[in-house]
């Protein structure tokens, strides 16, 4: 689909070669090739990463096989390794983080995009984006010194309201899966707010005006017209947030309690895959031990594939026609 102007300009017989040069000059093919190559690097990196993870974990894979995924024992001295407690902790803390982060994030994004005056909105968003730059280790420190004492004092209230569920039973020492979930939620909110706000702002004003002209309230317009339009972008930000929470290392390990066992209660300490790799990799002597930690990285990769797949199915099933 070369620009029609060039055919009259280049008044020569259109052979394949000159057609080729025409297309090249219009830049379409170059753009295609270059951008395709860049997109391919992602696949290359992902493949290389999986390859590295796979080859460096041969020892434990041969020793444990699939039982690695179902065992709960983590004993470096006896060389017994199992991934189950870490899978559990990773899933629970990320789920908590999303549960708290999505409503807060999308809510704030709506406010900033629709209701706040432009200057205030820009300024506040700018500040919120700064949260993304706070190093993970500082979140961890603030977690131990600020969040955990806060949660300890809030514990009686939580227990009074929700103590009847097994989710909030048992002793509470401050460091727990609940604390990790809250810290993660704070860490992912800037991504959700920032990106969601931008895509909401990008929704054409005609859409809003149309709805308002039909008598909808501000909220109804936002919920029924604007959000569906922005849905893809908001979903994108949530995927980014999910990814961050699955892989977050430093902050989690400082507040999760680092206990490789499975408890139903959120008050109990737990452990996540990223946290144990960070904790033990530098010190791990021996190839089996290191290999087990790398195998955990592989497991996380697999976990991410599954969770992303499930999330995508969820999105597909709720997509309205005509809104994408």
């Amino acid at each position: 689909m070369a620009a029609s102007s060039t055919t009259s300009f280049n008044a020569r017989p259109s052979g394949r070669v000159s057609a080729f040069w025409r297309r090249l000059r219009s830049g379409d093919d170059i753009a295609y090739v270059i951008t395709l190559t860049c997109a391919l690097t992602i696949l290359a990196i992902a493949a290389l990463l999986v390859f590295e993870l796979y080859t460096n974990s041969t020892l434990p894979r041969h020793k444990f096989g699939w039982s690695f995924l179902t065992t709960s024992v983590w004993d470096p001295v006896a060389d017994q390794f199992g991934a189950l407690p870490f899978i559990y902790g990773t899933v629970v803390t990320s789920a908590l983080a999303l549960l708290m982060g999505i409503p807060l994030g999308v809510g704030a994004a709506i406010f900033l995009a629709e209701l706040a005056p432009a200057k205030a909105s820009n300024g506040l968003t700018f500040l919120i984006e700064l949260l993304a730059a706070v190093p993970s280790v500082i979140f961890g420190l603030l977690g131990i010194f600020v969040l955990v004492p806060m949660l300890i004092s809030a514990e009686p209230v939580i227990r009074a309201v929700l103590g009847w569920t097994p989710l909030f039973s048992g002793p509470f020492y401050g460091v727990s899966m609940l604390s990790a979930g809250v810290v993660l939620a704070v860490m992912i909110i800037p991504f959700i707010i920032s990106i969601s706000r931008e895509v909401i702002l990008a929704v054409p004003t005609e859409q809003r005006e149309g709805a308002l002209a039909l008598g909808a309230t501000r909220w109804e317009t936002t919920w029924n017209v604007v959000l569906p339009f922005a849905k893809k972008g908001i979903m994108g930000s949530i995927f980014l947030a999910l990814a961050r929470s699955l892989g977050e290392t430093m902050a989690v390990t400082m507040v999760i309690g680092n206990d490789p066992s499975i408890h139903a209660s959120l008050f109990a300490p737990g452990y996540s895959i990223a946290a144990i790799i960070a904790n033990e990799f530098a010190e791990a002597p021996g190839d089996l031990y290191r290999g087990a930690l790398i195998e955990l990285g592989l497991v996380l990769f697999g976990l991410t594939i599954i969770i992303n797949g499930l999330a995508r199915i969820l999105v597909l099933s709720t997509t309205k026609k005509g809104a994408s």
Partner: protein
Amino acid sequence: MLSLRRKTVNAVMLSLTGICTFLAVGTLLFILGYLFIHGGTSLTVNFFTKLPTPVGELGGGMANALLGSAKLLLLASCIGIPIGFLGGVYLAEFGGSSFSYIVRYATDLLNGVPSIVIGIFAYTLIVLPQGHFSTFSGGLALGVMMIPIAIRSSEDFLRAVPVSMREGAMALGASKAKTIFTVVIPAAKAGLITGIMLNIARVAGETAPLIFTAFGNRFWSPGWEQPTASLPVMIWLYATSPYADWKQQAWSAGFVLLMLVLMINVLARMILSKRGQVAR
């Protein structure tokens, strides 16, 4: 005629969003305030000009870490942003069905890899064959982290540009490439910059990937082939030490890191908005 129910729902939901914002902003202001009080108030010129000193010797700084972080971020951005951005362009503009789906999936997967695993990855790929730690391997590790974020956010914002703009340009005879670079990208500019800023911000604070690549350095690190100090690693080291002076420096470094990212943010927006505002 608006029913009372609809009016109430409207008021309640909108106030809820206000509360959400208040909570988010409040948390941020708290963190900033905490960092400022613990780190900003005791910041001295030494921090920016002196090398680290051993415990007990006051007057040390993190000048080498500042330079190290700057070099690492520069290298990472040069690798991560172009590749990520152009990859996002592909997905948004040329993307068809299954291939783009796979690429998007792989991007989300890479985003979820713990930073320490990326560090180990860069270690096995570069440090071991080279036989030494280096700024180069650190920058590469960070760059690899930046790519998937950049692809994701670029694609989101490019897609948000209405199809009508693209069609308008093509109707005027522009080739696809020309449309992308002269119409779509400028229209998405605000969002793209946001994405880049978030990316740099995120990567500026990453510690784990640098431990096994850039390693650390108490001295200046000339060139790209030697280990280098960096702000996040120094923060981690000092904050987890038993010494009050070092802990103090850790908070200062955290504050400085944040201010640096703020500056990059402001500068980028200023420079790029000079070329004309995007109508909102």
